[in-house]
Symmetry: C2
Subunit: 334 residues, 2 copies
Amino acid sequence: MKAVRLNGYGGHEVLELAEVDDPQPGPEDLLVDVISAALNRADIVQRTGGYPDPRRRKGDTSPEIPGMEYAGTVAAVGDRVVGWSVGDAVMGIESGGCYAEQLVTHHRLALPVPPGLDVSVAAAVPEVFITAWDALVVQGGLTSGRWALIHAGASGVGTAGIQIAKAIGARVAVTCSQGKMDACEGLGADLVLERSPADWPAALQAGLAERGNTVGVDTVLDVVGGAEADRNLRVVRPKGTIVQVGLMGGGAVEVNLGLLLAKRVRWVGTVLRSRPLEEKAAISRRFADEVLPLFSSGELRPVIDRRFPLADVAAAHAHMEADANVGKILLDVR
Amino acid sequence: MKAVRLNGYGGHEVLELAEVDDPQPGPEDLLVDVISAALNRADIVQRTGGYPDPRRRKGDTSPEIPGMEYAGTVAAVGDRVVGWSVGDAVMGIESGGCYAEQLVTHHRLALPVPPGLDVSVAAAVPEVFITAWDALVVQGGLTSGRWALIHAGASGVGTAGIQIAKAIGARVAVTCSQGKMDACEGLGADLVLERSPADWPAALQAGLAERGNTVGVDTVLDVVGGAEADRNLRVVRPKGTIVQVGLMGGGAVEVNLGLLLAKRVRWVGTVLRSRPLEEKAAISRRFADEVLPLFSSGELRPVIDRRFPLADVAAAHAHMEADANVGKILLDVR
């Protein structure tokens, strides 16, 4: 089959479209014909050598195939698989291997493409909607009536997070660059703030106060870190939760822990990729129950910025690195 | 009645033994004849003006009476109080007011002095054992078989934490100054490490490895903060919890959030004093059920460093500030 593999680590030149061996499904796996894959920021970090595929065994020198989410159709099912048939529309998250015409996935990780969602856009769903929902709702405790703050509101995770917050009856403030503020408002954000170096904490507090909230936000979903870390502690309410999902702005931070104590804040770090199979399967099943129906009812929809053919993967990476996208960047595999 | 009140904020000279009005119990309160009160570090901060009694109303200019925990006997019960009688031995935590011959407390906050524990030492129990148990077990998820790391192992909270960890079947590593290492070992700590600037993380990891633990500690109870914050992130295991109970080493810290993310750490700030009544009552009831029986059975015992008469409160504060104590410092009120 054709796949994009990493010929070493580095710039776009290491992304190499090549003929590779077909993947072999085990007895609990699905073999998937991939229709499209979606890009994630972690793909860039993986390409430059900072985030190798955690499934690789020591001494494995075969080239890594990047790509952490996909949508397609089931091409074959292992002997012990139940609940899936050849031809089913499927989507999901993997630790790598999605920039390819075929992949294998454990059947308990695979998600059905919900009725009403076109499989050609479904690759834009799993990573960002699971990440945003897990961070806001499962770990962040967001409920109806409460306020979320989401940094990088126009990012994939941000656009998913805004929709999820609104769908469950919560209210949501976001930060983003000036050029993306309209897009965030269009998705339903209640308060759209220009990101740092603007003084967004003051603007947030003023906006919350106008809406009757003088205590702060209940849940922060932060993919930025860096200088935002200390500001998050300032704007979160007593007993609130900060869920740290990424560190696009840097991981070495200076913070005032006095606020962590006085407000009794929970600050939780999270990643999906390194979780063990049983945790990934559990969160996938719960996501299927609680969130996928909202795609069929139209309350949630994938936000797609642009699509590239698989052969143009270098251009797709460059587009993500330019940081001008609103929502997801897809690779059409077939 | 006689009480120690703050005549302004500042040094020991503001601690003034004086005749003050008797406290008046409401219908849900107990009136307590205080036998002894215990010192807490927060008393020092309160004395110097950094931690005023949160129960004071705006504009209240009456002198603050410090003191956050006590033991004594019930002198009177309000009309709506059930479960308490005059003469009962009682102990508990208050937001202030314990450096006094009498105090009033809500009956749902009061704890019975458990059978077998002398009321003359009981004031050394509530604050540190509730704090250590709440941090390690309730918020930190410590269970049998798991490892705790407790900073300042010879402090009041530290000596309580070591005993609680051992009593529930957990294992415990502590840091402390060199002169207090024997005391920590005597209380049952499995690993005793000299505190910073010594390289305790390396010593901890070596000690854990000898005992078959190569992943790190499950729960960190930290009253220090400062330079220890980043080290905590280094030694905590994946999905572990850091409970930040104090900041004796400073609150402005530099940390590497990459570890928070990669290990999916929960970092929780906590204080007891500012909690609302219903939370304090709930944790007091649960503590009475789960922890007080361990005092009667002898698995837990208060660790008392030294006792001072109430009139020598300035000397007691000086003794705490000298940082040479192992366990609690008590004030004998009558």
